[in-house]
């Protein structure tokens, strides 16, 4: 004996439950950090609640038998569900980093302009906090187009800086331990931008931060990039940034290895731009943090 059910409701309940499970899993296992900025936590928990309520309200509808329902268009919901199951966001392993590389560092070097990474950083520095520059970064050579843009922003920025100059370095004084600025992940983004924007003030200061090792094609033998991935909003805008380091033990470092780097900031000319560089570098083994990325905190 059988009984006709409401297939549509069944499919919807299934989809909702699957979405809820994946979201809860992502939230609890902290995998969500690979996808979106922490400011979405509240929204995602709220969504989970609502979706659960949807599913509950649908359960009573399953009994209402339906005929000739179109469930084919729900196939589309299988795409994200299957994708999430087949390609889970993996923790810190080489694969994950390769992807990140594809998106940023590697892609830049493929563009036959290996300088881009640092280029961009320079631009980034001059407009501290401005995402705009990031979007420019990967379209380097847009000088003619973005000239107006850049200059406007530089002007604005200059004004800002004029006001702030007095205490831009003081901001980080509180993090000093034994004469070394210890830059933790939560202030890394701000600090990084400030260093690029106000390099003069930081020259000669010692600093320490957690980073990963990246190679750049046009670097010298003893140079590497100590950098992190920055997220503004979600994985779609992940970009890697770093500071040039010079070290004698460069050859012992593997790409994407986590290190704590301590060094003295100095100026360095890189493809026409003045960028910060760490010299006198001490490297200790670092532990991969729970949250791999650096998040911009704008509000």
């Amino acid at each position: 004996m059988g009984r006709k059910k409401n297939m549509e409701a069944i499919v919807q309940v299934f989809i909702l439950i699957a979405i809820v499970c994946l979201l809860i899993d992502a939230m609890i296992s902290k995998k969500v950090n690979y996808y979106v900025h922490p400011r979405f936590y509240v929204g995602i928990w709220a969504s989970i609640t609502v979706l659960v309520l949807f599913a509950i309200s649908l359960i009573s509808k399953i009994k209402t038998a339906r005929h000739n329902v179109n469930i084919r268009h729900y196939v589309i919901f299988a795409i994200p569900l299957v994708a999430a199951l087949l390609f889970p966001a993996t923790g810190i392993n080489s694969k994950d980093m390769t992807i990140a590389n594809n998106n940023t560092v590697a892609s830049n070097s493929e563009q036959k302009n290996p300088n881009s990474e640092t280029d961009n950083n320079t631009i980034d520095g001059t407009n501290s906090d401005s995402y705009d520059s990031e979007s420019m970064t990967n379209e380097e050579a847009s000088a003619d187009v973005t000239d107006a843009t850049a200059s406007t922003q530089e002007n604005e920025q200059a004004n800002d800086i004029g006001e702030e100059t007095v205490d831009i370095y003081e901001k980080y004084a509180q993090y000093e331990v034994d004469g070394i600025m210890v830059i933790n992940d939560d202030i890394f983004a701000d600090w990084y931008c400030d260093v690029y924007g106000n390099l003069d003030e930081f020259v000669g200061k010692k600093c320490q931060y957690l980073a990963q090792v990246y190679s750049m094609e046009d670097f010298e033998e003893n140079q590497f990039l100590a950098g992190r991935y920055f997220m503004v909003c979600c994985a779609a805008d992940l970009v890697g940034y770093g500071i040039v380091c010079e070290s004698d033990i460069r050859s012992e470092l593997k790409d994407e290895e986590w290190i704590t780097v301590t060094g003295t900031i100095s100026e360095y000319e890189y493809s026409g731009y003045m960028v910060p560089r760490l010299t006198d570098v001490t490297i200790t083994e670092g532990e991969a943090p729970d949250v791999e990325y650096i998040y911009y905190n704008n509000y």
């Binding site: 949807f54 005929h67 995402y131 990031e134 979007s135 909003c233």
Partner: protein, 525 residues
Amino acid sequence: MATYIDIITGFLESGKTTFIKELLQSNYLEEFDKIILVICEEGFSDYEEEKPGEIHIKTLILENESDLNDDLFIQIAEEYTPDLVLVEYNGTWSISKILGVRIPFEYKFRNVVFVSEAGNFRNQLSNMATVMQPHILNSDMVIFNRFEKLHQGMQKKLTRDIKNINPRTRVTFINEFEADKILKERFMTFNNLEKTSMNFKMNLKVGIFLAFYFSLLLICEFPNIYNYTQSIVTVFLSILMQAIPFILLGAFISAGIQIFASTGWIMKQISKGSWYSFLIASVAGFFMPICDCGMVPIISGLLKKETPLPQTITFWLSSSAVSPIVIISMLYAFPEQPYLAVVRVITGLMIGIMVGVILKLINLETKDVTKENQRVQNIGKDVLELKYEGVKGKIEAVFAGAKVEFFRVAEYVIIGALISAVLQTIMPQTMKSFIGNNIVVQFIVMIAAAMLMSTCSTSNAFIGRSFSNNFSTVPILAFIVMGPMLDLKNMVMLSEILKKRFLLFLATLVIIESTIVFGALSFFL
């Protein structure tokens, strides 16, 4: 062998009995030996001596809805072992009642046929929508009879009414019973069987092909393919994850407005037709924070009420720029450039007002551009089966409406997110730098994307955002602002009421103006 159950439903005097008689006399049922007729009301003709000869027909009459219980079909199976059960169903009973009763395993609901008298249909639909809609919603085909007196074009309208409720059902006006294609398809068992097995084979083929393709890719094409796919997936999921809260928020507000708010005041303002009304029309969208696909029915409704065209179009174009949800989503998507939210509002308003003013200047009026005799129905969402009444019922309705809205919108967002994730991950580097060099090319690409990607205004900020590695700000803004205005899906929806030529003109106008607006903007941003 399976026993089929065909349900013939419709109101009293709709012609069900006549239809069943014709069916019995036709050659459609030749292959059945034993037919049971279950009649749920007393029709105006009875079936005495209808079918002579070899076929055994037994008639059962159910007088009360309570007779329709779990034992019915089991008893029928035990007593008569028929190979076809024809049910003449009472149109005022709930259709899910019969569909939900227990049936033996070898029994199968084959056809649900809704029969209606063409002349009365619209009247009945507006008076008894909640009774009638479930029947149409569950039907495989809708049959109109006594349509001979209808004037030309009415048939098309009736068909559209039906398709509005259930796009999958077939509509037929029967001229020659035995020659009707749709009837033949639905009632000849062999056709039916062949079709399903063919479908299955097709699906199997597609499945095998896909599996083959993917394994090929995985094994030999690139060793890097896994990484590539994973990076696409990560971007894809991240776009979805941040969009979900906003889709839900939009769904609730949209459903809430449709149930609680009246659009009367806004409509009155827009209908005034003065120059001042452009301003009101352009900001009115703020009070209707619905995503653009939800706006389309409102626009159709306004045009139907013959509101002045320029103001209505201004309202439509600006609505997706001034909506509070859109503004919030912009702030979330571009946290480091909150001014972009303001820019979006301003550009959206400018384009909307400019288009409106131009339409006013060239003196286009609503009746010039709307299709004639349109009857816009927006009942799809009323098919919410509600338990409660009063305030509780309204809350329940908002909740149920939001659920419908969520599933509808999520589909488009998934497609949009997938396209943008694939594009931004595998877009060849050369292409990237080519696009990157030329802001005009970027602009053109983004307009094309705006038309084709069908992203919802409430979440397209995130999709636009995800392009930011490859495109600069102004083209991305163009994509976000113009997305809802040029969206192909919206155009298709609007073409139900507006003439295609006008829509084409409108799209061109929007593109030209946005070129001017964003061209100017690129000097400032």
